[in-house]
Every structure is written in C-alpha cells, then in structure tokens.
C-alpha cells in the first residue's frame, strides 16, 4: 500500500549551492571507479573546481535574489542573504583549496579526495542555511563525516590516520554535546525551528528555565568544538598537523566559517531572551581562545602546528563578533571571514608547496630563505602573516578593527584591551615566520639548502595569488564588502 507523504514545496534555488556540490561529488566518485587511474585526478579536480565556481555563482544569485529572509521547505531551511554569503565564502574557500590540492598526488584515492571535498562543502553550504535543530545536526554530521575521512585519507603519512581518528573521536564528542543540548532545548520548548524556539520561550516565560539553559550551555560547548575555540580546541593542533595540508587549509577556513556563522545564527535567532547569558559565555570562549591560542603558538617550531594555534586564536577574534550580539558584530564577523579565509588557505598553501619540495614537515628552520628562493611564495606568506597579525594593508587589519569596534559598542572595552594584548603577543610568532623566510639563510641554521627546484605548480601558484589578492584588496575596497556583509547580517533578528 502506498503511503502518501505530504511533501512541502521545495525552493530549489535556496538549496542550489549544496546541490551543485553534491552533484559534483557524485561525479567525482563515479570517476574514481569508471575512469582509468591516470585520468581520475584531473577529471575529478576539474569537475569539483567547476562545481565550486558554480556554487559560488548560485550563492551570489541567491544573495541577489533574497532581499528578505524567508523560511522554505517547511522551515527546515531559511533562504536569506546571511546564509548565502556564508555559502559563497565556503564555495570560494573550496575553489582555492582545489587549486592548492591539485599538485598533491596521493598514492590512491585521488578522485575520492575531490569527491569528499565537494561533499563536505555541500554539507557546509546546507548547514549555513539550516533553520531548525534537526537540519543543523544533519548538516553538521554531513560535513564532519566527509572531513573525518579527508583527514585520514593520506595513508602514506603517518600522522594522517591519527589525525582522522582523533578528529573523529573528539568531533563525536562535540556532536554528542550538541545533540544532547538540542534534545534539552527541544524538551524545554517543544520546538525545533529556531524562530519557534524564541517564540516559545517568550510566550511561555521560559527565559530562566533550567532545562533550556543547560541545553544552551551544551550547544555552546558543541559549537566550541567545531569552531576550535578554547577550551574545546584540544584536537586542533594534532589534526591540523596530521591532515594533508590542503585539507587543513580548507578546514581552517571553511569549517571555522561555518561554525561561527552557525553560532551567530543559532544564538541570535533561537536564544535572544538569554542574550545576557550567552554573550558572556561566548566572551569567555573568546578570552580563553585568545590566551591559549596565542601563548601556545609562541613556542611552536612546526608551521602547521603554529598555524593551528593561530586558528584557535582567530576563533577567539571571530567569536568577538558573535559576542557583540549586534548588527555591527554580525557585519564585522562576515567581513572578517573573507580575508581570514583567504589568509588562512594561502598560508597553508605556501606550507603545502614547501612540504612538496622538501618531502618533510615544514618547520621554521627549513623555511629559512624561502622568501628569496621563491619570491611569490615569500611575499604572499609575508602578507598572510601580517594579515593574521592584523597589520594594515591587509583585510586582517580591517576585520580585527571591526570586531573590536563591535565589542566596544557592546560596552566591553576590557575585551578590546584583551584583543589588542593578544595581537601584541601574536606578532612574535607571525613575524617569526617573516624573520625565518627573509632574514635567516639556510646556512645560518646549519641546514642543507633544499635541493633542486620542483616543477612549477600553476594551480597552486594561482591559488596563492588569488588569496593574496583577496587579502590585500579587502583592505582597500572595504566599502563594497562591508555593504554586502551589512545586507547579509540584516537577515538576522539583531
């Protein structure tokens, strides 16, 4: 007997970025089986790159066509500019990551790599538009499972499997926290939709309800895991170090984007009544992340570990925008994510290039002289380091300035001071990289110079150049980007 399921009308455009990527993922996986081994990587990479470009176009279209936020597909997904801009950032990050990955040949699973990359990005594009707790959890698991495999994909690399396993276990913890938090919130309010939760809270006077607050706390912890904010960051250095470098770059940009965007949407939409509570909690995460990330990064010699801790500290800076709980904060967050993603992927891209050249982990010692050997990589890495440190002439400065302005307007001048103190500390290790690549020669450190020059990797160089362009252009052309971010953040009830 056929059971008729009532299917809600589907707004295909709202789902288009995720669908395009999912389609590419299927094609890449088919290519992994059907094509001869030599053709798999180019075909899968091309299809995935096209899909990322397509997703970027779809997201831009969505950005243009969604002036008002409207729930679609029975409220599971919201079609708004906030999600569309975040999806665009994810798609851009994915496109750059394909460029970074292309020169990397795995012993096997080359096509699967791109399939998984597209699949996880599809999950991200879905997650940033998700508007109810079930859809959020679905999106989160979707992207995470693909990433667990990506981290462990490089079977030749000893750390890779460890990274995958660690990420799986710790990520499982995070998901469990989140899911239990969702259950408690559902238990307290009887609602799954984010706006409906807020309505139920105000209608039934549940502002201080213990069940709800406990649920909120667990949700925050779960989001902290995903954003790698301290004290939920323990997995970050090991996973970032162990995972294949292009994957690390993608994670540091896209996963973090998704996590903080989700945090902003979830907290602002579902819990406006508890704002006093969660803004302070997020501020706590900010302070912890800034302290842990920056202090731990000071002593790292391995560049990937150093960048991992730097990404913990950036989780802190990005969450400042969330903690501000204001239109300016959301705007600042969305703006900051654009240069941050470019700088982060770019930095890992340079590391990836050096890694391929040396065939060993990249440390501060063996990047000595890189700036003179490889002018493009050197200048780009210099710009990325300055940008991550928040120095002018990069979008990192403007982003940092905006989030600090947002927390200042929230009345937290102490947090501004904390942020600036963290910046002062961070200069030591960011400039340490600049010092290594320009001011120390391999001979000075007693290390044999890298032998031979590797074949030029055009895709990688193009990705680095693009990251550099975004990093610098976002400093000069602030107005258009901030306008876009402003329109996007208007979709949230702030």
């Amino acid at each position: 007997m056929a059971v008729a399921l009532a299917t809600p009308p589907v707004d295909w455009l709202a789902l288009s970025p995720a669908l395009v990527l999912l389609g590419a993922s299927s094609v890449a996986l088919l290519a992994a089986v059907l094509l001869p081994p030599a053709r798999r990587r180019p075909v899968a990479a091309t299809v995935t790159a096209l899909a990322f470009a397509g997703a970027l176009a779809c997201a831009s279209l969505l950005l243009d066509r969604s002036p008002r936020a409207e729930p679609v597909i029975a409220g599971a997904v919201v079609r708004d500019r906030f999600g569309a801009l975040a999806a665009a950032i994810v798609a851009g990050a994915g496109l750059l990551s394909v460029g970074v990955s292309y020169g990397r040949r795995f012993r096997k699973h080359n096509a699967e790599y791109y399939g998984l990359l597209a699949a996880s990005a599809a999950g991200m594009a879905f997650l940033v538009t998700a508007d109810n707790l079930m859809a959020i959890f679905l999106g989160l698991e979707w992207l995470s499972i693909a990433l667990y495999v990506l981290c462990a994909l490089d079977v030749d690399l000893r750390g890779s499997l460890e990274a995958g396993l660690k990420y799986l276990i710790v990520g499982g913890f995070g998901s469990a926290f989140l899911l239990f938090g969702f259950a408690l919130v559902y238990g307290a309010t009887g609602e799954l939709g984010l706006p409906a939760i807020a309505e139920a809270v105000s209608a039934r006077g549940l502002e201080g309800d213990a069940l709800l607050v406990a649920g909120l706390g667990m949700v925050l912890a779960g989001l902290g895991f995903k954003a790698s904010a301290a004290p939920f960051h323990m997995w970050t250095p090991d996973v970032y170090e162990g995972a294949p470098t292009p994957v690390t770059g993608f994670m540091s940009a896209a996963t973090k984007t998704v996590a903080v965007v989700l945090a902003m949407r979830l907290l602002a939409t579902a819990f406006p009544a508890q704002a006093e509570l969660w803004t302070w909690a997020v501020a706590g995460l900010v302070v912890a992340s800034l302290a842990v990330g920056n202090l731990a990064a000071l002593v790292q010699r391995n560049l990937k570990r150093m960048l991992a801790y730097s990404s913990v500290s950036h989780a802190g800076f990005l969450l400042m925008g969330v903690a501000a709980n204001s239109a300016l904060g959301a705007k600042a967050l969305l703006y900051y994510l654009i240069p941050y993603s470019a700088m982060s992927i770019g930095a890992f891209a340079v590391v990836a290039a050096r890694e391929r050249e040396l065939a060993r982990p990249v440390t501060l010692d063996n990047v000595a002289g890189l700036g003179w050997e490889r002018p493009l990589h050197g200048v780009a890495l210099w710009a990325f380091m300055l940008g991550l440190a928040g120095m002018p002439l990069t979008g990192g400065f403007v982003g940092k300035f905006y989030v600090l302005s947002a927390v200042y307007n929230r009345g937290w001048i102490w947090l501004v001071i904390v942020g600036l103190a963290a910046t002062a500390v961070s200069l030591y290790y960011y400039l340490g990289v600049v010092r290594a690549i320009y001011m120390q020669t391999p001979g000075e450190l007693g290390i044999a110079p890298a032998g031979g020059s590797p074949p030029r990797d055009l895709a990688l160089d193009a990705a680095i150049l693009l990251c550099l362009a975004v990093t610098v252009a976002s400093f000069f052309a602030v107005e258009p980007i901030i306008d876009l971010a402003g329109k996007a953040s208007a979709a949230l009830p702030l």
């Binding site: 705007k331 003179w372 300055l386 120095m391 002018p392 002439l393 400065f397 403007v398 300035f401 905006y402 600090l404 302005s405 200042y408 307007n409 001048i413 501004v416 001071i417 600036l420 103190a421 910046t423 002062a424 200069l427 030591y428 400039l431 600049v434 010092r435 320009y438 001011m439 120390q440 602030v478 107005e479 901030i482 402003g486």
Partner: protein, 487 residues
C-alpha cells in the same frame, strides 16, 4: 576635491607606485637604484610644488586636502591634507629619503630591487603619517612604516640584527596597539574618525593611549630600550632615517594629535609629567652619548636627547615652543641623517665605528674632515647655526612654564657640546689607533653628492631659520590661543 589636492595624493602615491615598480620590474641592480633615486628626487620636487601652494597664513588649517569615503558606516575616510607645519616634515622626509636612497645606491646594497622598493614604500608610509587627517588612516600609515623598517633592519643590518628587529617591533607595537585602542574609543564615541571634524577630546586616558605610541617611537625616556640596538645594527642610511624621520613622526604625532586634538586643560594635566620625561631624556641621553664607545652610539643617544628637547618645546604649550620644536625637528632630521651617513662612511673605511679603532682620519681627507666638523658643530648648536635657533626658541618657550626647565635645557646644550666634540676629535683628530683608520680614500663623488646637499640645507636654514619658523602656524583665529598654551 580641494584645489591642488592631487599634489598631496601624489606625495603618497608617487613613492608607492615607485615601490611597486621596483619590486615588479626586472631591472638590473644599478638601474633599479637609479630609478629609485630619480623617484626620490621627484618626490622632493613634488614637495617643493606643495610648499609653494600652502597658504602659511592659515597654517593650522588643513590645505590641499583630498577626501574619499573608505568605509563610511563607521565614518572612516581617506582624508589627506597638509598644514603649515606638516609640510616641513614632509619635506624633511623627501630630502632625507633621497639622501638615504642615494647613499644606498653608492654603497651598493644587495637584493637591490627589494631594498629600493622598501625604501620607497617607507617614504610613502612616512609621508602618509604627516598628511593623514583621519585617525584610522594615520594609524594605518603609522603601522605601515614599521613593515619596511622591520625588513630593512632585519635583512640588511649588522650581525645582531635579529635581536634588534625583535626589540624594535615589540616595543613599538606595544605602544601602537594602545594608540589603536584610543583611536577605536575616540572614533566610535565621536561617530567619525576624521581629525578635523572630531571635537577636541578631554580624556586623559585617550591622551595616554596616543602618547604611549609616540613616546615609544620617538623614543622618550624610559621607552628607549630598542634604540641602541636598532641604531647600531641598521645599515647607516636606515639608521639615519630611523632617527631622522621616523622619530619625527612621533614628535609630529605629539603636536598634531596629542596636543592639538585634545582640550587644553587635558594636555596641561599631564604637561608636567611629559616635560619631566623630556628633561630626563635630554640629560640622560646626553650623558649616555658622552660615554658611548662608538660613533653610532653617540649619534643614537644624542637622538634620544634631542627628542627630549623637542618634547620640552612641544609641551611648553606656547607658540615659541611649537615653532622651536618644528624647526628643531627639521634640524635634527637633517643632522641625524647626515651624521649616520658619516658614521657609515667612516665605518666603511676603518672597518668599525668603535672609537678604539678610529682616530686621525682628518689626515689627507679634507672633505671628510670638513663635513664631519661642520655637521658636528651645527649639531652642538653653536650660535649662528639653525640648531641654535631651534634650541633657543624651545628654551624661550619652556622658560614660560618654569625657569627650571630652561636651566635643564641650557645645561644640556653644554653636554651636547661635550659629546659632539668628543665624537669629532675621536674620529678626526686623535692619533690613529688602528691601521684601518689610516687606510681608505677621502670622500668620493657619490658620497659628496649625498652629504653636501644635506649640509647645504642646514646652512641655508642657519642663514634663514625664519624660513621655517615664520611659515608654520600662521595667523589664524586659533593662533592666539596657541600662544597662550593650547586651545
């Protein structure tokens, strides 16, 4: 926007474009240096054009200004313009940078494209500091100065350059970030970051935020920990620029922001404290300069002393003090650049700047002897020199705030004579203490071509110091208030 605004833009954009040209074009080593020198001289010419267009009777008003929205939602714009006193500092920058580039071309720096690009970038950033009329833009240029300096010292510096750059960056960034905090607070409170539109602030905390950045960069006692290493390890022309120009950015910041953009009573609340730091720096720097064992050490610590003196003039908070301070900024910028270049010349010949290895260098080197002597004598403010005019005005100004300050200042002039004469005689006159000091030729044409114009500027100013002092603040409605001490 305003008439002649292009010239202010040009002052920033010309060296910036030149920097990009040097980095991107595949020119050979000498050609890139020649291009950089030509652009630096073009910058001087452009400044001369600006000088002719500035209306000095409205010295405090921002002129030749250009304004374009940068990010409008927070009220931040690209707003540049010149005032009667900033135009002199722009000129100082253009002249000293041209000298630095010329010297570097002569000395033949390695990795020429990177080097000259950075020098031009530094020019753009420093000029930007002097022309910025928006707090955030000011901060951007301020930080942008540090980026090339970091690399210039760190790559082309002496053996201990890494430690020197680390100290330089940590000290200055600690100060700069406090300034950024002050800028954020000030700008968001006012709803605009524009310096001209913002009302004068009355917060002592904000004043201290700005003052921290300026005090470190100048440096004022006790924030000078980075100074000896940086000045000793940098290549001579970079050391000259650090002490000649970059420190003036700090002094300019004191005047243009910490004094003129704050309420008079706020500034007077902290006046005594800053005067005290200036006076201590003046005496302490002079004593250290007297005890320094090498030529660069003397010039470095004399720079600390001179910045203390300039600070005394600025915080006298009256027109005589301001005028004297501006003149002395220009003087010290030229003197310090020339002295560091002379140190470089001496070190190149003797192999070291240590006094125990120098001496007797006047023998057979009339040009070198004349230049060291003349510059040194101007530096110790012999009456008739432009430095004397500057110091005299500063002492007159600070006398109004209590004769004690003037006594300290006058005493320090004696100390200046002591350390400068010690420097001159240790290099030129005492018996040669090493074989190195007797080797090497007199000044070559390239070196003369750099040093003589600098000295000529000083001699012109000595003949006519009023060229600067009567063309700074002008007679606007604010000038009487300035003359009585702040707005």
């Amino acid at each position: 926007m305003g008439q002649g605004a292009w010239i202010t833009d040009g002052l920033v954009l010309l060296p910036l474009a030149g920097a990009l040209l040097c980095w991107l074009s595949p020119l050979p080593r000498v050609a890139v240096g020649v291009v950089a020198l030509a652009l630096s001289l073009g910058e001087v010419a452009l400044w001369a054009g600006a000088l002719a267009r500035v209306d000095f009777s409205q010295g405090l008003t921002v002129q030749l200004e250009e304004r374009a929205e940068w990010f409008g939602d927070l009220g931040i714009s690209y707003h540049v313009g010149l005032t009667g006193f900033s135009v002199w500092l722009v000129g100082l920058t253009a002249v000293a940078m041209a000298a630095g580039v010329g010297y570097a071309l002569w000395a033949g720096r390695e990795r020429a494209r990177a080097y000259f690009g950075l020098m031009l970038f530094l020019t753009a950033a420093t000029v930007g500091v002097f022309v910025a009329q928006d707090y955030l833009l000011f901060y951007v240029f301020w930080e942008a100065m540090l980026i090339p300096l970091y690399v210039l010292v760190g790559v082309w510096g002496g053996p201990d350059r890494l430690a020197a750059t680390l100290k330089l960056v940590i000290y200055t960034m600690a100060g700069s970030l406090l300034m950024l905090a002050a800028i954020i607070v000030l700008g968001l409170q006012n709803g605009t970051f524009d310096m001209v539109e913002s009302p004068p602030s009355s917060s002592v905390w904000l004043f201290l935020g700005f003052a921290a950045a300026f005090a470190v960069k100048a440096p004022l006692f006790p924030f000078h920990g980075w100074l000896p290493d940086a000045y000793r390890q940098a290549p001579p022309e970079v050391a000259g620029i650090l002490s000649g120009i970059v420190s003036k950015a700090a002094a300019y910041g004191f005047l243009a922001i910490a004094i003129l953009r704050f309420q008079g009573h706020t500034v007077r609340d902290v006046q005594e404290a800053v005067l005290a730091l200036g006076a201590i720096g003046l005496v302490y720097g002079s004593l250290l300069a007297f005890r320094a064992p090498d030529a660069r050490g003397v010039v470095a610590y004399s720079s600390l002393a001179q910045l203390g003196l300039i600070t005394l003039g600025l915080f006298a908070l009256n027109l005589a003090g301001f005028n004297g301070a501006v003149l002395q900024m220009v003087n010290h910028g030229l003197i310090s650049t020339a002295l560091f270049l002379l140190c470089g010349v001496v070190e190149q010949r003797a192999g070291s700047g240590h006094f125990s290895l120098l001496g007797g260098m006047a023998r057979g080197r009339p040009a070198l002897a004349t230049l060291v002597m003349t510059t040194g004598v101007i530096a110790l403010a012999v009456p008739g020199s432009t430095a004397f005019a500057g110091e005299f005005l500063i002492l007159t100004g600070v006398f109004d705030q209590g004769y004690g300050w003037a006594i300290v200042g006058a005493g320090a002039m004696v100390l200046a004579a002591m350390y400068m004469l010690r420097l001159i005689s240790a290099i030129l006159h005492e018996g040669p203490r090493s074989a190195g000091a007797t080797r090497g030729p007199d000044l070559r044409l390239g070196e003369l071509g750099v040093l003589v114009p600098l000295l000529a500027c000083l001699l012109v100013l000595s003949a006519w110091p009023a060229a600067v002092t009567s063309h700074t603040f002008g007679q606007t409605k604010e000038t009487p208030a300035l003359a009585k001490g702040g707005r």
